[in-house]
C-alpha cells in the first residue's frame, strides 16, 4: 500500500543548529535536527540529562524498539509538524476531553495515517515509546474511528479475536449493556 507521506529521510536541509543522531532497532543511524528530535519527550529528556554542551560529538541515541521502516514514517510526521505547528499551550483537562470528541483529524494527518491498520498500530506503539503524545493520540483516534463503524462480530473477525464468553456470560453481558445500546453501527457487513 503506498502512502502519500513516505519520502526519503536522507535529505539534509541546510539549516544551522544541532544535529542529533539516533539509531533504530536494526542499527540504522539517522541524523535529526534538534527541533525535530525534541518533539519526542523521551529524546528531549535524554538530551537534557546529558547537557547540550558538546553538539559536535558522535554519540548516537539507540532507539532499540523502533524498526527502521516505522521510524522513517515517524520522521516524515515529525518533520512536517516541526515546520507547521506552533508551540501549543498545554490544554486544561476539560478542554482536552472536549477536543477528543469534537476535533477532527487534520487533512494532512488523515492522509499520513491512510495505511494498513497494522502499520498504524506500530506507529502508535513507537509514538508511545518515544513519547510523542500528539502522534499517539492521532493513531488512537484513527483506530477508534474504525472501531466505531464495526459490529462486535466484525471486530472479532477483523482481529481474529476468539469469543471466550460462555453462553451464560454472553447473555449476562447483553443484559448489562442493553440499556446503553442504540442502533447497530451505521455500516453493516459488506460481504
Amino acid at each position: 500500500m503506498s502512502t502519500a507521506a513516505s519520502s526519503s529521510t536522507s535529505e539534509t536541509i541546510a539549516e544551522p543548529g544541532l544535529k542529533i543522531k539516533v539509531s533504530t532497532k536494526e542499527g540504522e543511524v539517522f541524523e535529526l535536527d534538534e527541533k525535530v528530535a525534541k518533539m519526542s519527550q523521551v529524546i528531549r529528556g535524554i538530551l537534557e540529562d546529558l547537557g547540550e554542551q558538546n553538539g559536535g560529538d558522535d554519540s548516537v541515541l539507540p532507539l532499540t524498539q523502533v524498526e527502521t521502516r516505522i521510524f522513517r514514517k515517524i520522521l516524515v510526521w515529525l518533520k512536517y509538524h516541526a515546520g507547521h505547528d506552533k508551540e501549543e499551550a498545554p490544554k486544561a483537562e476539560e478542554d482536552e476531553i472536549i477536543a477528543r470528541f469534537c476535533e477532527e483529524i487534520p487533512e494532512w494527518d488523515q492522509k499520513f495515517l491512510n495505511v494498513d491498520q497494522a502499520v498504524i498500530l506500530e506507529i502508535m506503539l513507537a509514538a508511545d515509546y518515544l513519547d510523542i503524545k500528539k502522534l499517539r493520540g492521532l493513531c488512537c483516534k484513527t483506530v477508534a474511528n474504525i472501531l466505531k463503524t464495526k459490529t462486535v462480530e466484525q471486530i472479532r473477525e477483523m482481529y481474529g479475536i476468539e469469543n471466550d464468553f460462555t453462553p451464560e456470560e454472553e447473555e449476562e453481558i447483553r443484559k448489562q449493556t442493553a440499556w446503553c445500546e442504540d442502533e447497530p453501527p451505521r455500516q453493516g457487513s459488506n460481504h
Binding site: Q117, A118, C140, M158, Y159, G160, C180
Partner: protein, 503 residues
C-alpha cells in the same frame, strides 16, 4: 475460508489484541460510552477494559443530552456507581428517574472525587421522597439543577443544604424556553433567600431563564456571596435592575454580568457605580436601554473586554462614537452588535478600521446595509479574529437588500486575512447569496488556510451543500452546519464559558 478484510493484519505484525492494556485504554478513551459498551461484548479481555473505571470518570445518564441512550434502571445505576465508576468518577448527570436517596447515598459513599453533578428535574411530574436522604456528595464544585415549573424543590433542598458548602459554581436552569403563550402563574420553586446562606463560596452563578427570579433574590444573593465573579441572569424577565447598584457594591469581584433579555430599566442601569466595579464582560442583549444611558454607563466602565448589545436600539452612532472617543474601545476584544440597526455603515467601518486588529470576536449580523463591500473592506483589519458572524437571516425587512451578495469575495477575504478563524457564520439566505462555478476554488482556499476552523455555519441551500461536500471530501465532517440548527455567538470567548455551559 473467510474472505480477508483489507484491514486485517497479518499474524506477524502488530495486532490490536496484542497491544498493552494501557494503549488499548487510550484507544477506547476516544469512544463514547455507548460504543464502549458495545465493545465490551467482544471477549473477556475487552469487557475488562471497557469496564475500567478510568473510562468512566465523566458520565451522562441523560439520553436527551448526548448521554447514554436509555437511563439504566435504578438498581443497575446503583451497581454501576459502586463497581464501575467508583473513585474515578468526577462528573455525572442524572435524569429524574435516578434522582433518589439511594443513588445519592451510593455516590456519597463510593465516589469521593465527584465534583460536578447535574440533576435534571425538568421532566419531573413529582418528586421522589427524600425523607431518608442523609448523605450527599460533599465535595461538589459545580451543582447544576434543571428546574421544572411545577415541582417545589424545598423538601429536597432542605436535605442537601448541609452538603453543598463547597460549591463554587451553581446553575439553576429555568424553564424559559418552554414558555407557553398564555400567562400562567409563576411559582418560586426554589427559595433563593434560604439557599444563599448555604453557598458562601460561589464564584459563578447561572440562573438561566428562571422565571420567578426578581431583584429581591439578587439582593439576597449579593448579601452572602462576596466571592461572586460571574452572574448570568439571562431571560429572567422579572428582573428590573433595582438591585444592580447593591450587587456591584457588595460583590467587588464581579467581572462578568450577563443580563440578556431581562427587564432592566435604563435608570437602574445608570444608577449603579460602574466606575468602582470590575465588570469587564457585559451582556445587555435585547434590553431596553436608551442611548443616553449607554453613553453614561460606558463612559464610567473602565475596562470592558467583552460586550454584547445586540438588538439594543439605544446602541447608535453616538454611543459607538463615545466609546471610541473615551478610549474604552481600546480594551475591547469581542463585541456583538447584531441587529443594532441604528448604526450606520460609515461609523462601523471607522470603528473596525481603528480597532478591528484587536478583536477576537465580532457579530454584526442582522444589519441589512452591511453587504459585500463593507465586509471585503473590513475583514482585512480583523487579523486576530476567531469568531465572526455576518449577514441577515430570514428576517425579511421592507427595505429588502437590493444588492446580491457575492459570497466568493467574502470567503476569499476571510481565508487570506484571518488565519486564526475558528467559527464563521454567514447568514444571508440562498436568494441573496450569489456564487459561481469558481466558488469551489475559494472554498478550497478557505479550507486549507483556515486550519483552525471548527464551525462554519451557512443558510441551508445550494451553496451550503456545495461547501459541506467540499469539506466532507477532505474528511472534515462536522464543520459545516446550517443556521437552522446552529447559531454562532461570541460566548466561547468568555472566560467563564465552561462554567456557564449546560445541556
Amino acid at each position: 475460508m473467510a474472505p480477508k478484510d483489507r484491514g486485517e493484519p497479518s499474524p506477524r505484525q502488530a495486532t490490536i489484541d496484542k497491544l498493552p492494556d494501557k494503549t488499548l485504554l487510550h484507544i477506547l478513551g476516544f469512544l463514547e460510552h455507548k460504543e464502549i459498551c458495545r465493545l465490551a461484548q467482544v471477549n473477556r479481555k475487552w469487557r475488562q477494559l471497557a469496564y475500567d473505571n478510568r473510562l468512566w470518570s465523566s458520565v451522562s445518564l441523560r439520553p436527551e443530552y448526548g448521554g447514554l441512550v436509555a437511563a439504566p434502571p435504578p438498581d443497575t445505576a446503583v451497581h454501576l456507581i459502586a463497581s464501575r465508576f467508583g473513585a474515578q468518577l468526577k462528573c455525572i448527570e442524572l435524569p429524574i428517574e435516578l434522582i433518589t436517596a439511594q443513588v445519592f447515598h451510593e455516590l456519597a459513599n463510593k465516589c469521593p472525587n465527584l465534583v460536578h453533578l447535574v440533576l435534571d428535574f425538568s421532566n419531573a411530574m413529582q418528586l421522589h421522597d427524600f425523607n431518608d436522604l442523609n448523605a450527599f456528595p460533599s465535595k461538589l464544585r459545580t451543582l447544576n439543577i434543571c428546574l421544572s415549573d411545577v415541582i417545589f424543590m424545598e423538601g429536597f433542598m432542605r436535605k442537601i443544604y448541609n452538603f453543598i458548602n463547597s460549591v463554587e459554581c451553581l446553575q439553576l436552569i429555568g424553564t424559559y424556553e418552554k414558555v407557553s403563550e398564555e400567562e400562567e402563574e409563576v411559582h418560586e420553586t426554589v427559595q433563593i433567600t434560604k439557599l444563599k446562606s448555604h453557598v458562601p463560596n460561589l464564584r459563578v452563578i447561572n440562573f438561566f431563564g428562571v422565571k420567578f427570579l426578581d431583584d429581591n433574590h439578587i439582593e439576597a444573593i449579593s448579601s452572602n456571596c462576596v466571592h461572586l465573579e460571574c452572574l448570568c441572569i439571562k431571560f429572567c424577565t422579572k428582573y428590573t435592575g433595582t438591585s444592580l447598584k447593591t450587587l456591584l457594591q457588595r460583590c467587588r469581584k464581579l467581572s462578568c454580568l450577563l443580563m440578556e433579555q431581562t427587564g432592566i430599566k435604563s435608570e437602574h442601569f445608570q444608577d449603579a457605580e460602574w466606575e468602582k466595579s470590575r465588570v469587564s464582560e457585559l451582556d445587555i442583549t435585547s434590553c431596553e436601554i436608551t442611548s443616553a444611558a449607554l453613553i453614561d454607563v460606558l463612559g464610567r466602565i473602565k475596562n470592558l473586554k467583552w460586550f454584547c448589545a445586540g438588538h439594543v436600539d439605544g446602541f447608535d452612532n453616538q454611543v459607538l462614537d463615545s466609546i471610541m472617543q473615551s478610549g474604552l474601545a481600546k480594551s475591547l476584544v469581542a463585541i456583538d452588535l447584531q441587529s443594532c440597526d441604528n448604526l450606520t455603515e460609515e461609523y462601523l467601518f471607522k470603528f473596525l478600521e481603528a480597532h478591528g486588529n484587536q478583536l477576537l470576536g465580532l457579530n454584526l449580523a442582522g444589519i441589512p446595509w452591511l453587504v459585500e463591500t463593507f465586509w471585503t473592506q473590513s475583514v482585512p483589519f480583523l487579523r486576530k479574529i476567531k469568531i465572526l458572524i455576518m449577514g441577515t437571516g430570514k428576517i425579511v425587512t421592507i427595505t429588502r437588500v437590493s444588492s446580491k451578495i457575492h459570497v466568493d469575495q467574502i470567503i476569499d477575504c476571510v481565508a487570506v486575512n484571518c488565519p486564526q478563524i475558528e467559527r464563521l457564520e454567514i447568514r444571508w439566505d440562498p436568494e441573496t447569496l450569489r456564487f459561481s462555478d469558481k466558488s469551489s476554488k475559494f472554498i478550497d482556499t478557505l479550507r486549507v488556510k483556515a486550519s483552525k476552523l471548527r464551525s462554519l455555519t451557512l443558510s441551508d441551500g445550494e451553496y451550503f451543500e456545495l461547501v459541506k461536500s467540499n469539506f466532507e471530501r477532505a474528511h472534515r465532517r462536522a464543520i459545516v452546519r446550517t443556521t437552522v440548527n446552529c447559531s454562532t455567538t461570541i460566548l466561547p470567548l468568555l472566560p467563564y464559558f465552561k462554567d456557564l455551559r449546560f445541556n
